[in-house]
């Protein structure tokens, strides 16, 4: 009996010590502060901007690590660390597009009181391209040949060749040289710098206080912030990986803002008095066709078959029924960039009769009476794979049924996202194992740049890293895609991309299913919020909480 008593005492001791340990790790606001709680369904990977491509991380930058320029609700850039946006008119961009000169504000400070200067920009570029650092991407810094700093507030960027997408891609987060340079000098890399995961020095209205793995990240006011004073005391990101739990937490008031809300949850949240905000993100859900003589189904080589598929799917009804009318059918891959849709493109209508006629015309007829069209002994049976996301699987089922009506058999395949997007040789998408693939993608919004469809990006055993997973080589498209990335003349670039758009539409290289906007859920106690797509929390200093002030 004594032994059992001791056992229970021991267990009680373990629980108590664990509770104290966790409770002692800190993380409480207390004192009636205004705390904004954002529910994030994915946790940050690294807070060093060079070491992440993750949306859930980069969109926090406006809270603690201001960009050189940010983007407003209309997705127009506005200066943040710089005094004005470089342009040809103000001399910030050279006529040949090879040099961009930026002028920094002279009152910039890091949260520890150190001056933020041109040296920090140079250091950021040096770290991005240094082979000792395993950064997530060297792009766009690998397009820069050198950077000069004539003085503390002037940054002169020299490019290898004219670089059109500079506004959408450059300076997404600056590194504090005074913190990281000593680490680099000591270790030869910043891979293991403590700042990457605990950046207690930043240059935004808030600064990181605590990031507790798997649980939360808390940002408190930055006393050395040089901009408008924020109204909210603390910004608290709570990591809640489960979608249903996110909805319950929002309904129960355990979170103020949620994102990546499933369309099917929208009515539930609206009934609970939560506002749903949708912002066109530049991303569109679409079908990618493998168009290659060796890979993919031979029928997809014929544009008439692809056009028949476009007309055989009732995409309007799909948006109304599956996506509750919250989205529309995108007319093109660049749907959110109206400037590059000139002349505006029109979607293929749902017209099964016309689709069937096109298939007949292409020689695909049901010669053996099995309900599936065929040609030269080859059945029109296509494999169509995507990830296991619920809405995608629903769409697959609808598309399978509708295409069956015009004599196209579809084999549906679903994969975990990490398997689906694995590299050439491992993943079905990169390896050309499917005829039709589906995911959400877009240009480097708000820029129009794309790089997927280049002929020399087709993956192979010799070049497994290629990004042209459609195995498509169209010389005209190739030339235009290459040209537009160096065109700094806006009108010329508009022409190039509009032409690319037209080719995509006419050739049906890609078929849009629905726009994929950012969907935010905001509780009624949050005020003055606005969202942009690239920098969603750009006006975080204006946000307020009404209950906390009552």
């Amino acid at each position: 009996m004594q032994g059992k008593k001791s056992l229970f005492q021991y267990i009680s001791f373990i629980i108590l010590v664990s509770l104290l340990l966790t409770a002692c790790q800190g993380g409480g606001a207390g004192g009636g502060d205004k705390v904004l709680t954002l529910i994030w369904t994915q946790e940050f990977d690294s807070l060093n901007p060079l070491y992440t491509n993750m949306w859930f991380t980069t969109v926090t930058h406006q809270v603690w690590l201001s960009w050189a320029w940010e983007f407003d609700q209309a997705n127009n850039a506005f200066p943040k660390l710089v005094t004005e946006l470089p342009s040809m008119e103000n001399g910030g961009i050279s006529e040949d597009g090879m040099v961009i000169t930026m002028h920094l504000r002279d009152d910039l400070e890091w949260s520890d009181g150190e001056k933020l200067t041109a040296d920090d920009f140079i250091f950021t570029w040096e770290m991005a391209i240094n082979p000792a650092n395993s950064v997530a991407s060297t792009y766009p810094y690998d397009r820069i040949s050198s950077i000069e700093a004539p003085d503390d507030t002037t940054v002169v960027i020299n490019f290898i060749e004219p670089f059109a997408p500079w506004l959408a891609t450059l300076w997404h987060g600056i590194l504090p040289a005074h913190i990281l340079k000593p680490v680099f000098e000591a270790e030869g890399t910043i891979d293991n710098a403590p700042w990457n995961l605990a950046p207690t020095v930043g240059c935004g209205p808030y600064v990181l206080d605590t990031w507790e793995s798997g649980s939360f990240a808390r940002f408190v006011r930055n006393d050395n912030w040089w901009g408008e004073e924020p109204k909210i005391d603390e910004v608290f990101f709570r990591f809640v990986p489960d979608d249903a739990s996110q909805v319950a937490a929002l309904q129960a008031g355990d979170g103020d803002v949620g994102t990546f809300i499933a369309y099917s949850d929208v009515p539930t949240l609206q009934d609970a008095g939560i506002t749903i905000v949708t912002e066109p993100s530049g991303y569109n859900e679409g079908m990618f066709f493998v168009i290659n003589e060796e890979l993919g189904h031979p029928a997809l080589l014929d544009v008439k078959v692809r056009q028949a598929i476009a007309m055989g799917i009732d995409r309007v009804s799909m948006n109304e029924d599956l996506l509750l009318g919250l989205t529309q059918v995108p007319a093109s891959f660049w749907d959110a960039l109206a400037y590059y849709n000139d002349p505006p493109l029109e979607n293929y209508p749902y017209d099964p009769a016309a689709a069937a006629a096109l298939l007949d015309e292409a020689g695909w007829v049901d010669s053996n009476g099995n309900g599936v069209r065929d040609k030269d002994g080859v059945e029109l049976e296509l494999t169509y794979g995507t990830t296991i996301r619920e809405i995608r699987q629903n769409a697959q089922a609808v598309i399978q049924q509708q295409l069956a009506e015009i004599g196209i058999a579809i084999e549906i395949l679903s994969y975990d996202a990490d398997i689906y997007f694995s590299s050439y040789g491992d993943g079905p998408a990169a390896s050309g194992e499917l005829d039709i693939m589906e995911w959400s993608d877009g240009p480097i919004f708000p820029d129009a740049d794309v790089y997927y469809w280049l002929c020399d990006e087709i993956p192979s055993d010799d070049y497994p890293d290629g990004t042209n997973w459609f195995f498509l080589c169209d010389p005209e498209l190739d030339e235009l895609v290459l040209a537009q990335s160096t065109q700094v003349d806006a009108a010329a670039r508009q022409q190039s991309i509009s032409r690319i758009n037209q080719i995509f539409h006419d050739q049906v290289y890609w078929l849009g299913l629905w726009q994929d906007p950012d969907v935010w859920a905001v509780s009624s106690r949050v005020q003055n919020y606005k969202f942009s797509v690239v920098t969603p929390l750009y006006n975080i200093v204006e946000w307020d909480l009404i209950e906390a002030s009552e």
Partner: protein, 345 residues
């Protein structure tokens, strides 16, 4: 006893080696860490080639296993991609206590990643296990003493309802009922997710409050199995001659049940608990995910989905070692409970 322990530990070494080998090879085929880094666009080809080299993923799998096991500080690594080794690696391998660094949280040592989550899992799982054992003991003994009574039937029915429901259903149901609906109805309600309310701060009281629903969910599905097991072993023991003798001697019922019967009925239960205990370290994957509890289960899920081999291997090896250790402890407890069992020949 000491000889027994040393023998078992020595036996465990080759076993752990083979476990690590199998797990590593399985893990290396379970996804692409570089694809997982891509964000919303496909990784650029130049970045993929560079990261593959920098993270050592261009090496054959057996070589990556060797690096994981004994480190790479004896081999020159190509840093700039020119095919020529530039400087010696920095990894020491798990045999020298270096579990490596996370690929997802670049630069964070695996031991640190795990150490941050382990206390959270322990408070949740140990509390759940205590609730399960205490509750199941009470229910099991009560049912055994009142076999085939209506209470026994009712307990059996309720525990099987709990057992047959998937945990995600119980978790979400309890979250909606006690978190969302109770609040809507103006009743005292429980928090839905996380470990504390950010406006209140992370206090012991807040953590306890946030533990209620996850502990309840984990316990509900486990009551049935444990209580039925205890019931059947108690019934078996209660029918033994020595219990009849104890009754004949006029010992109080409480003493017969809790001293004489329960101790002997506990023997097989100790085995079950001994097998369960190391798995507590792995956390409750579904429960932690639903209640956003930052424990080991979620850590495993988050990192396995992003093919973070060093972290996943660290977790799996921790559990493998724990299984071996708890098996040895179970044998020792067995001897304490049943003096007939001895380790010496």
């Amino acid at each position: 006893m000491l000889r027994f322990i040393i023998k078992r530990v020595l036996q465990a070494i080759p076993l752990l080696f083979f476990i690590s080998l199998i797990l590593f090879f399985l893990m290396m085929n379970m996804g692409d860490p570089i694809a997982a880094m891509a964000g919303r666009n496909v990784t650029r080809s130049s970045d993929r080639a560079r990261l593959t080299r920098q993270l050592g993923l261009d090496q054959p799998i057996y070589m990556q296993y060797i690096y994981w096991l004994i480190g790479n500080d004896w081999k020159k690594i190509d840093i700039d991609g020119d095919g020529i080794g530039d400087s010696y690696g920095t990894r020491e391998g798990i045999l020298r206590g270096d579990f490596g660094t996370s690929i997802v949280n670049r630069g964070r040592p695996v031991t640190e990643v795990i150490a941050q989550r382990l206390p959270n899992t322990l408070i949740l799982m140990v509390a759940s296990e205590v609730v399960i054992i205490v509750g199941a003991l009470g229910i099991g003994v009560y049912s055994a003493l009142r076999q085939y009574s209506w209470v026994d039937h009712a307990i059996t029915a309720v525990s099987f309802v709990g057992y047959s429901m998937p945990i995600f259903f119980i978790a979400l149901l309890s979250m909606y009922l006690f978190g969302v609906l109770f609040k809507r109805w103006g009743l005292p309600y429980l928090p839905t997710v996380g470990m504390f309310d950010p406006e209140e701060g992370k206090t012991v009281g807040q953590v306890l409050l946030h533990m209620i629903l996850p502990v309840l969910s984990i316990s509900l599905i486990s009551f049935a199995a444990y209580s039925r097991y205890i019931r059947s072993t108690m019934l078996e023991v209660l029918g033994q001659d020595y219990i009849r003798t104890a009754k004949a001697k006029g010992l109080p019922k409480r003493q017969i049940v809790f001293i004489h019967a329960l101790k002997n009925a506990s023997l097989p239960i100790v085995t079950v608990i001994g097998l369960d205990l190391p798995l507590l370290l792995g956390g409750a994957i579904v429960t932690e995910r639903i209640f956003a509890w930052p424990g080991m289960g979620r850590l495993f899920l988050d990192h396995v989905s992003r093919a973070d081999t060093p972290v996943v291997m660290g977790i799996l090896m921790l559990i493998a070692v724990a299984v071996v250790v708890f098996q040895i402890l179970t044998d020792i407890v067995y001897a304490w409970l049943d003096p007939r069992i001895r380790f010496e020949k």
